[in-house]
Amino acid sequence: MDDFLIRALLAGLLITIIAGPLGVFILWRRMAYFGDTLSHSAILGVALGLLLSINVKIGILLSTLLVAALLIYSQRQKKLASDTMLGIISHSALSLGLVLISFVEGVRVDIESWLFGDILAVSWNDIAYIAIGVAIVITVLLVIWKPLLSLTVHEELALVEGVNVSLISAIYTLLIAVLVAIAMKIVGALLITALLIIPAATSRQFARTPEQMALFSIGFGMLAVIAGLFASFLSDTPAGPSIVVSATVLFLMSQIFKKV
């Protein structure tokens, strides 16, 4: 097996470890659009990184964290419906990013790799960066698991029982921002939400507890990464979209399995 394929597999599998549990919460909290908004804003980060001549990874992390903060703030105002706010932020961040990238001189920017991922170009450095990110996210998530679950089930009950709802929600949002930043290279800004949602939806019918659903979601994510990468390797299809297609096939199979 080629070295680049091993790196790609490793990177993909690492990402699914956090995409699984974060993804089930996205489903439970009906936040799919929210994930989209954060990942689209990462394109703005690419532009910032290039224009300010800083590391693009740092640019992405900064922009997703910034947009996450903006989202946390905007959820506290009640003038505009939340999906309206998300729509505005999501598409303006994406467009602004694309416009700004066109101003970058000298370098020819491979925009497609940022939109759809370039997992086959992952370096050992990238893997170290991803591993650190995954370790941080999973640790924080384990710490806030119970209050996050409680406020996800019912926010007012959690509040009455003493959960600091706004703090825990904010931390969760920041975790998704971190995930987006480190997963950009794997599946790209447009497809990250798929990696969060599809394996989580696939695992629903097999799970009897919230934790099972999160674990199964990791499992299905890993299957999708493996199947997608091999499909991509064998038939030379784009890797990121192949992973998403594999996840979708797994989802469809689970639906048929459910009927039988």
Partner: protein
């Protein structure tokens, strides 16, 4: 199982001249109330009277424009919200749902046992009926060892017999643990029998007092018209007797013509229906306890 009298008068929380308006519309005007340990306060009022907002203010979720909200320091509140729906995409059992409030698993089972729904522990929370769900919510509130229990329309979507049993359960638990109870409802005749004090709310407090006084109050009669006055009286009466008398006797007594006239009956079909409901209810409850 009487609560010591010293604890009886202990003030848990109070509202003092609360004024709340949302988007320029007055929701609550000059509302005051006191919640004491071991006492049941029932707030009744028609839809849109501001009952839920009252709870929101008391819990601190809404900030009133003027007036004082007092909650005793570190007051533990058990809250039973109006019927809530849980996203079906979350796999969660009843036991786990209750345990979210507490520290250990065994507590959840004990609490479910106490509210009479231990047999549902392994079921998915989304499959419960209205009445079962209320009991599960009650169990979760108990997990928190509440000093004050707040219930928002706990009888919604629960049939008449289930309602009576639920109220009976709340009263029993109150006697056991000595917590104060705030119960909010628009459904009147079943609520009032165990309550210590009734507030009739329609943005402002129309009238207050003991259940029987309130039901005779002209403001109350104007608000609720012909509906529950007879039902209320019938039920209170029934309760005093249902353990002593046979079902037949209760029926006879409740349909006594003297009784209706005493209660300013508006004498339409609706109240007839209410009466017969209450009567059969009393029988049913007696059955279960007998």
């Amino acid at each position: 199982m009487l609560v010591p009298s010293s604890k009886d008068s202990e003030l848990l929380a109070s509202l003092d001249q609360i004024h709340l308006s949302l988007q320029g519309k007055t929701i609550l005007h000059d509302v005051s109330l006191k919640l004491q340990a071991g006492k049941i306060l029932t707030v009744i009022g028609p839809n849109g009277a501001g009952k839920s907002s009252l709870i929101q203010v008391l819990l601190g979720f809404e900030k009133p424009q003027s007036g004082n909200v007092f909650r005793r320091a570190k007051l533990r509140i058990g809250y039973v919200p109006q019927k809530i729906s849980i996203n079906t995409i979350m796999p969660i059992t009843v036991e786990r749902f209750v345990a979210l409030a507490g520290k250990r698993k065994s507590n959840a089972l004990a609490a479910l046992d106490e509210t009479g729904v231990k047999h549902l522990a392994k079921q998915a929370i989304q499959q419960l009926s209205g009445g079962e769900f209320q009991r599960v919510l009650l169990a979760r509130a108990l997990q928190h060892k509440p000093e004050l229990l707040i219930l928002d329309e706990p009888a919604q979507g629960v049939d008449v017999i289930g309602q009576a049993e639920l109220y009976e359960k709340i009263a029993t638990l109150k006697d056991k643990y000595g917590f104060g109870v705030l119960l909010v409802s628009h459904d009147l005749h079943l609520v009032m029998q165990k309550t210590d004090h009734v507030l009739c709310l329609n943005q402002h407090i129309c009238c207050s007092g003991h259940a029987d006084d309130v039901s005779q109050h002209p403001e109350y009669q104007r608000l609720f018209g012909n509906l529950p006055a007879e039902g209320l009286a019938v039920y209170t009466h029934n309760h005093n007797h249902c353990h002593d008398l046979h079902g037949d006797v209760v029926t006879g007594e409740c349909l006594h013509p003297e009784h209706s006239s005493k209660d300013h009956s508006h004498g339409n079909n609706m109240s007839e229906v209410d009466q017969s409901k209450s009567v059969s209810l009393a029988k049913e409850v007696k059955h279960k306890h007998g």
